[in-house]
Amino acid sequence: MTDFLLELRCEEIPARMQAKARADLERLFAAELEKSGLKAGGYTTYATPRRLALIAHGLPEKTQAVEHETKGPRVGAPDQAIQGFLKKYQLNADQLEVRDGVYFARRMAAGRPVWRILQEAIPALIRAFPWPKSMRWGDASRSSESMRWVRPLHGIVALLGDQVVDCEIAGIKSGSATLGHRFHHPGEITIGSADDYVEKLRMAHVIVDQDERRNTIALGAKMAGQGAGLTLVEDHGLLEENAGLTEWPMPLLGRFDEAFLDVPPEVIQLTARVNQKYFVCEADDKLANAFICVANIDAEDGGDKIVAGNEKVLAARLSDARFFYETDLKTRLEDLLPRLEKIVFHEKLGTLADKVDRVAKLARWLVEEGIVGTGAPAQAGAQSGNTSALNPGLLPAQEHDRAKLADMAERAARLAKADLVTGMVGEFPELQGLMGGYYAAAQGEPPEVAEAIRDHYKPVGQGDDVPTAPVTVAVSLADKLDTIAAFYFIGERPTGSKDPFALRRASLGIIAVVLANEIRMPMAEAVRVASSPLLIQLVTTVGAAYQIAKHQAEYLINTAEGLAKGGEQASLSAELFKQFKKGESRIDEADLLEETANRMSSGALWRDVLDFFADRLKVQQREAGVRHDLIDAVFALGGEDDLVRLLARVHALQAFVTTEDGANLLAGYKRAANILKKEGWEAAPDRAPADAGAQGGEALANENSATAHPEAQKALSYTPEPAEAALIDALDAAEPHAASAIAREDFESAMAALASLRAPIDAFFDTVTVNDPVPEKRTARLALLARMRAAVHNVADFSRIEG
């Protein structure tokens, strides 16, 4: 058993690519060995800016002899074919094996020395290496097909034990020599074997192990901070990046002028991190006027010049940042709004100013409807999904609070995007929202408004803070709802891995905000309200374009005669024709409007959006262990678009179906549903409530087989069998219980009511024949089963439940 060392030395590899490159190197190398049936005992991989290395532990000297089997002609094939096969593999007829009427040739291939396999594997994996971006270089690049690497490749160390594995690619020959640190150790060093690789490099001022470099930086930075009485602000990404930028990392502490601390700390941290890759420090939980840079040399003067240089660079950066900040502070946010009119949000959806206007109206609506607010309205959506402008039960004081809240939500929404045109956000787009919050506070907006501006993009991913302050919640929901409604409105929806407008993220954000705050929002209604200004906007634009085009056409017709004279008249006409064409291009938008109007009239638009939310909810709830089929079962009832209530129902359902009663009831339900299906009793209105709109639980509770099959409610013309009578009684008792439980959103009790059906339904199937020869009996019993199915559907569409 021998260890093999491979080092690929090149010009500086981007830090962000190094971790994946190590994984790729191991994967490709193992795959190359695999082709020859070889497997290493284990791998170690290293990356520095200037080298990528792999040690394969415990390789054998030779591969095993392998038996190859080749399929030949069928037995009884023409002799010519059989002879040809024998000749090809240099075998006699009696050496062939016969299986299933087919000849097979079996031959042993002798084991190959591992160094030979490595000789082929090294160039192959270099050629196949999947760098995210690669390049050609040097004289060989006269051809477009010349070898590619992340940056020019300069050396290959390939040592099996202490022997060089000879290979060559693009004029680079393998060997045992490499280079140490660029400045500390400019000469060549010779590696003996995998065993001394790490230590030989260390002697040449290269810490080849990235984890060791990372630890060195983490510890060194911490100590540098401590030495000055400061606490390092840890930053894992920055640690990784600095480890990828250095072979001999030396953390050094530098300072900047305290006066810069007037600039928001996030700005300072971002400037230091993004532009300079510096860590920042804190003293007493506040940002300190210090930074830690990581040099790649152990400087002769202890790093004084390096620190001085870095201090100067950061000072220049921070004075730029302060300039932006101070300049931005001179303009009030509302004065920036006209500039949003010039920023296109999406070519079909108008400008950012249009979006702001829609979001502001929606945010106000969310508050005025009592969907978002100070607590009182929690039941508004549940009561019947009504959309009365004011909750009748509100006291005057609460009414006043609500009006104030609505004003603040609208104000915050109107200012929320203004920071996009400030100098600071232009420089650091990731500060959007945050800067708006600072500027709003500075110009005297109420804290609620400033906070809403700051946080309205949240949550931007899993684990991000979810807003809870009412004004923030209103703006955050409105912004995201508008985005989703707007793109669905123009038929832009996520497909497969493509989600260019981040609608999935927006919907997950809505779900998180809604659930965290237990917001009772009728989703379909909210989407409808969000879409309405869009429709007005689009119809107005298209209509105006047609009106202008009409005037232009009239003018052109009236002046057609003058056209022949040329000159001014002709040039004006030419310009009009050009504009006319522009107006014509609105035809596309008219097509879009036609389609959207159709999707609205059929309700497809709302259903699409709700389905999208259902999908996202399933993804979002998977981690919490909620079964996706149960979410489907509740969504399938239609009409249920209040996520909080929906999830409560799903939770109760999940608890119920895992009980014995639940499992048996499900089995009974499925049996009943199958019989009904077979008998053509399909008419039960599974999705009917969907058309009733967002009616909520009450409407569902009223659903009853009676509406579908009135004859079921008629008095029976015969004496029911005991189990039949028992089921009727059980249903008579369970139905009102379940209905009232659902109306008060007590889903556990609703499930308990259903559970009472389990024994009667089992007994019914055991003793009663549904398919009775007497037609009245058959019809009545089918109706009974339908009634049972409907009762179950009060809670969920059990046919969607798996198992």
């Binding site: 010009e11 500086e12 981007p14 830090a15 962000r16 800016p49 971006k133 690669s134 390049m135 050609r136 270089w137 040097g138 004289d139 060989a140 690049s141 006269r142 051809s143 477009s144 992340v150 940056r151 020019p152 300069h154 660029r182 400045f183 930028l245 300079q276 890759k277 510096y278 840079c293 040099a295 790649n296 040399i297 400087a299 002769e300 003067d301 010049k305 390096i306 001085a308 240089g309 870095n310 100067k312 660079v313 950061l314 220049a316 010039k342 920023i343 296109v344």
Partner: protein, 297 residues
């Protein structure tokens, strides 16, 4: 740094250094450009199979960067030192570091780093991979291996070094304002030479330049570019394209180009520059193929 070279001494040192390494020492292109890369010695010579090694200073004009002489780091007119080596030599990094040593940077006391920074110029249909070179955290050079120019593969690849001369000099001379740089060793500062220029040019760029005339010039330059292309004269066409590019920059500084129009103008300049490169390739290809058997575009 004590005994730090003056601004002009630094340039002369770089000239000597690259001259000794086989580079032609060229003079600046005599047109207003935004970057040294626009010099035909870079763009056009990066195309085709023939070797090409050249170094030159290129004055650069970026009207929007003007600060009326009041910002110690920002200028609307400054110098780049540009080296182009084709094909890129295997020891390009070492050659480059040698040039830093020549102008007085001591690698035992300063931290030199190659930090990923890929270069792209949509205007020229060009891109390359490389780094910004940091000296103690300050970017002093853009180091690029050109991969494509004018939308065509560079065959072979050229290495391009672009030194920011003022920054480098400020660093070496340890001054905080560009205007305090020693231009020579006889007491003339960078400010003595350029401060008034910055004040007047900023004023003109931002406030005075006649925008109607500029729009007109833009139109004329683009028309002339097309005229040259029709006449199969790619070099004059290219000159008109960079003229149009600079006029566009001036219009930007005057703030008369809206966000929506901006893309359209940039697209226009890009089409012209790429068209000129394509025309140059088309014109030169027969000669290149004749002189370099086996080479093809």
């Amino acid at each position: 740094m004590s005994n730090a070279p003056s601004f002009q001494r630094m340039i002369l040192t770089l000239h000597d250094y690259w001259s000794a390494r086989g580079c032609l020492i060229l003079q600046p292109y005599d047109m207003r450009v935004g970057a040294g890369t626009f010099h035909t010695a870079t763009t056009l010579r990066a195309l085709g199979p023939q070797p090409w090694n050249a170094a030159f200073v290129q004055p650069c004009r970026r009207p929007t960067d003007g600060r009326y002489g009041e910002n110690p780091n920002r200028l609307q007119h400054y110098y780049q030192y540009q080296v182009i080596l084709k094909p890129s030599p295997a020891d390009l990094q070492e050659l480059y570091l040698g040039s830093l040593a020549a102008i007085g940077i001591d690698f035992t006391k300063h931290d030199i780093r190659f930090v990923e920074d890929d270069w792209e110029s949509p205007t020229l249909g060009a891109w390359g991979l490389g780094w910004e070179v940091w000296c103690d955290g300050m970017e002093v050079t853009q180091f690029t291996y050109f991969q494509q120019m004018g939308g065509f593969d560079c065959k072979p690849v050229a290495g391009e070094l672009t030194y920011g001369l003022e920054r480098l000099a400020m660093y070496i001379q340890d001054v905080d304002s560009v205007y305090d740089l020693a231009f020579n060793d006889a007491g003339m500062s960078y400010g003595d030479v350029f401060l008034e220029n910055e004040r007047q040019m900023s004023k003109w760029n931002f406030e005075v330049a006649d925008t109607d005339a500029l729009f007109d010039l833009f139109k004329k330059a683009t028309a002339e570019c097309e005229n040259c292309l029709a006449a199969k004269l790619p070099i004059p066409a290219y000159e008109q394209a960079i003229e149009a590019s600079h006029i566009f920059n001036l219009l930007q500084a005057r703030g008369v180009i809206s966000v929506a129009e901006r893309q359209a103008y940039m697209g226009r300049v890009r089409d012209l520059a790429k068209g000129s490169c394509a025309a140059y390739i088309e014109k030169m290809t027969p000669e290149w193929e004749a002189n370099y058997p086996g080479w093809s575009i």
